[in-house]
């Protein structure tokens, strides 16, 4: 088998090097760059010049450009994400706090309550079960909020998927708020006549309900705006 011409070898190496460019850049310019490299090689051969030094210099120059394009892309991604970075951090902290409360706080509170009132052991366990069930809508809402932030980062804010996520967040907030309302009512009924002061848990529940109300209102307004933008976009299409 005949060995390949040096030009072909250099061209194959150059094509491999071009694969290191970011995908969008590679799809756009790699065929042209490959063609240009081939043209330059051909011209040098025609004029009787060697290829080794030229190929080496071009590889170094292109490697530097690859490094620059990749670092530009990384920087661009960081800059784009920085606007939603704070909100991501808040959501993550809320998730960590909820996990800590469910994993450590709730079992401890139930254990305390059971040791204080051994006869009424059923109620604390029921409260614990409710707390864990409420984790489902809570973490669903956090996940949907993360999805919305992802859509914002990808310039897909005004999409049907964003509207769906906002609707789910609203639904989850309503479920949590309604559950806490039912919880307050149940607590009042159960503590009636026992002399127990349920002011502390009631205050916390009212605070959570208020927070759920805000989330519901905000997600409703945002969903309407997103829907309006989607409608406008579809109207402007020919």
């Amino acid at each position: 088998m005949l060995s390949r011409q040096p030009q072909e070898k250099y061209r194959a190496c150059y094509a491999k090097l071009l694969r290191l460019y970011p995908k969008a850049y590679r799809d756009r310019f790699a065929p042209e760059m490959d063609q240009t490299f081939n043209d330059l090689c051909r011209e040098r051969i025609k004029s009787g010049e060697g290829l080794l030094v030229f190929a080496f210099a071009t590889f170094i120059e292109t490697s530097a450009a690859i490094l620059r394009e990749n670092s530009d892309l990384i920087l661009h991604n960081i800059m784009n994400r920085s606007s939603t970075l704070f909100l991501r951090l808040v959501i993550s902290l809320m998730a960590i706090a909820a996990l800590l409360i469910c994993g450590l706080g709730v079992p401890r509170m139930v254990a305390d309550e059971v040791s204080r009132h051994p006869n009424g052991a059923g109620v604390p366990y029921a409260v614990m079960a409710c707390a864990y069930i409420l984790c489902i809508p809570f973490f669903t809402a956090l996940y949907q909020a993360f999805r919305v932030l992802n859509f914002i980062d990808r310039d897909k804010t005004f999409s049907h998927a964003t509207a769906v996520s906002l609707r789910r967040i609203r639904f989850c907030a309503l479920v949590i708020g309604a559950s806490f309302f039912a919880g307050i009512v149940a607590l009042r009924i159960l503590s009636a006549g026992t002399g127990e002061d349920g002011a502390g848990p009631t205050a916390i529940a009212i605070l959570i309900m208020f927070f759920c109300l805000i989330v519901t209102a905000v997600s409703t307004v945002l969903e309407k705006q997103v829907q309006k933008a989607i409608d406008l976009k579809s109207e402007s299409l020919p």
Partner: protein, 81 residues
């Protein structure tokens, strides 16, 4: 690339990496655009893409040249050139 080298009397040598990086940035800024005009039909290849300066590109170039002229004028005025 050859044009840049010849215009700068061999002082500036531009490789494909720098050239296509600049083309990408100029395309993004709307200073140049693709064209169907084939400059050299003998060298034609379906992968060969030609670019031409846009109106915005011409305006930007004119503004940049004006800025250079002003700098040269100041240098002359202060007897640096």
């Amino acid at each position: 690339m050859k044009q840049v080298e010849s215009d700068s009397q061999g002082k500036v040598k531009m490789g494909p990496g720098t050239l296509y990086g600049s083309i990408g940035r100029m395309l993004e800024a709307g200073l140049i655009g693709e064209t169907d005009k084939k400059i050299d039909p003998d060298l034609d290849d379906e992968r060969r893409i030609y670019y031409q300066i846009t109106t915005l590109g011409k305006k930007t170039l004119a503004a940049e040249l004006d800025r250079y002229r002003e700098v040269v004028a100041i240098a002359k005025k202060r007897q640096f050139a």
